[in-house]
């Protein structure tokens, strides 16, 4: 079977359409399962009471924010290096979903911080780095929406995403450094809650749910992007015919 034909947006479009329900439905089931385990089976935490149950959505969304950024950079890089339009479109499709998960992790982190440490926002290394990650997403999205020419937008986005991806470990390291120096002012996370098996299971199930959800949503958005570019291209061709 010649898989390469799916590298063309026109051919991938129907395939993507068929794939979507295979990811959307399991995603809903996994969310339900994960939350069931998290709320009905996992016990109340000794230290934090029931407030800790936020982690079942907080940790997966933080991980998704990070994974999706790397994935976005990889697709953008492939699109640029191999002149593969579909890969670039994939990167653009991922961006908003990745930003949303990052935002979700910041908000849920803040809501977890208030009952646990007494403050909505603590400038600890992870939270600060996540905030900066959100800025990087916003930069990518802003740059692409500011450029009308899709070819330029794809490639400029690729440069930015790759520069960003290299910087993420540097930024994380420097924020951690900054944090350990300012220990007095910041609030330290006194270790993770001891992870009992049902808690870990719930987190992992919700993480899987997030992955399936992301694939479904990104494919939907990708199809919209394919249609938009197709329309713009045909309108352009008509005007110049």
């Amino acid at each position: 079977m010649n898989l390469y034909k799916y590298a063309s947006p026109a051919n991938f479009y129907p395939l993507a359409g068929k794939m979507i329900p295979w990811f959307a439905i399991p995603s809903a089931i996994l969310f339900a399962a994960g939350l069931y385990v998290g709320f009905f089976i996992a016990p109340t935490d000794f230290q934090q009471g029931d407030a800790y149950r936020i982690i079942f959505i907080h940790v997966p969304s933080a991980w998704m924010g990070m994974f999706l950024y790397v994935l976005m950079a990889i697709y953008a890089g492939i699109g640029w290096a191999f002149n593969a339009r579909l890969a670039s479109m994939m990167a653009s499709a991922i961006a908003i979903t990745g930003a949303m998960f990052t935002l979700l992790s910041l908000v849920t982190g803040a809501l977890w911080g208030k009952p646990t440490w007494g403050t909505y926002w603590a400038w600890d290394a992870r939270m600060t780095s996540t905030l900066i990650l959100l800025f990087l997403y916003i930069g990518f999205i802003s740059l692409q929406s500011a450029i009308d020419d899709t070819r330029r937008a794809d490639r400029a986005g690729a440069v930015l995403a790759l520069v960003g991806v290299i910087n993420v470990p540097i930024i994380y390291f420097s924020v951690q450094w900054w944090n350990t120096l300012h220990q007095g002012a910041s609030i330290r996370i006194l270790g993770k809650p001891t992870i009992a098996a049902p808690m870990l299971a719930a987190m992992l199930i919700v993480l899987a749910a997030c992955w399936f959800y992301s694939v479904a949503v990104v494919l939907i958005r990708l199809r919209c992007i394919i249609l938009e570019r197709e329309q713009n291209a045909s309108r352009f061709a008509e005007v110049n015919a």
């Binding site: 802003s142 740059l143 450029i147 070819r151 440069v159 790759l162 420097s174 924020v175 900054w178």
Partner: protein, 219 residues
């Protein structure tokens, strides 16, 4: 070739001296706003000084990035530069070097005066200058990537800021950290070494990224 580019950019900048001065004035004004907004209490000012001065340097650098490529784009020189047989990497390096000399060095020189406004002790003023000396190349180098990516786009300065300011954060942390360490009596050396390392990494990778971005923007 490198020398020629640097010399050319310096000459052109000299003809537009007002632009250079405006960057410095912006820096001074922004720094002066903070005491006005926060209050003149010396202890407080001394504690916020490293961060405030460094952030003002970041913002002033942001504003000057436009000058890097925009003028050459307008008169067609940029396209010619892309066509020369010399590696674009070198052209970019030359322009960034000229930009650093023209836009960042004045900030480094003015910094001690500004530092006095915040009652920073003498030895720390020296560390402030050193940290800016080591850190400002990073601002020019990383800024050049943003300038190349946003060449000719509407949204101008704000768009560059959104792209580049997050990438400036490590420089800010180590630069301001060095000054703050000096104020509290700790050694600024580790901060300065890390800042230096970051500068070297930027020096190696940014011109290449900027060159790629220029080709993308000018196609």
């Amino acid at each position: 070739m490198l020398r020629w580019i640097v010399w050319r950019d310096l000459t052109l900048a000299w003809r537009r001296r007002a632009d250079i001065l405006s960057t410095v004035f912006f820096f001074i004004i922004v720094v002066s706003l903070f005491p006005l907004g926060i209050g003149p209490e010396t202890q407080l000012l001394r504690s916020i000084a490293p961060g405030v001065i460094w952030v003002a340097a970041l913002l002033a650098s942001m504003l000057s990035l436009n000058r890097l490529f925009a003028n050459d784009l307008q008169d067609g020189t940029l396209e010619q530069l892309l066509l020369t047989p010399q590696p674009l990497f070198l052209v970019v390096l030359g322009k960034v070097l000229a930009h650093w000399i023209v836009s960042e060095i004045p900030l480094v020189l003015i910094a001690p005066l500004v530092g006095l406004q915040f009652d920073i002790p003498g030895e720390t003023l020296l560390i402030l200058v050193v940290s800016l000396l080591v850190g400002t190349p990073v601002l020019s180098l990383i800024g050049s990537v943003g300038a190349a990516l946003t060449l000719g786009l509407r949204g101008g300065g704000v768009l560059i800021s959104i792209l580049v300011l997050p990438l400036y954060i490590p420089a800010l942390i180590f630069g301001a950290g060095a000054v703050e360490a000096s104020i509290i009596g700790a050694s600024p050396a580790p901060h300065l070494y890390l800042l230096g390392a970051f500068a070297i990494v930027s020096l190696i990778f940014s011109p290449w990224a900027t060159a790629a971005a220029l080709r993308i923007s000018l196609e």
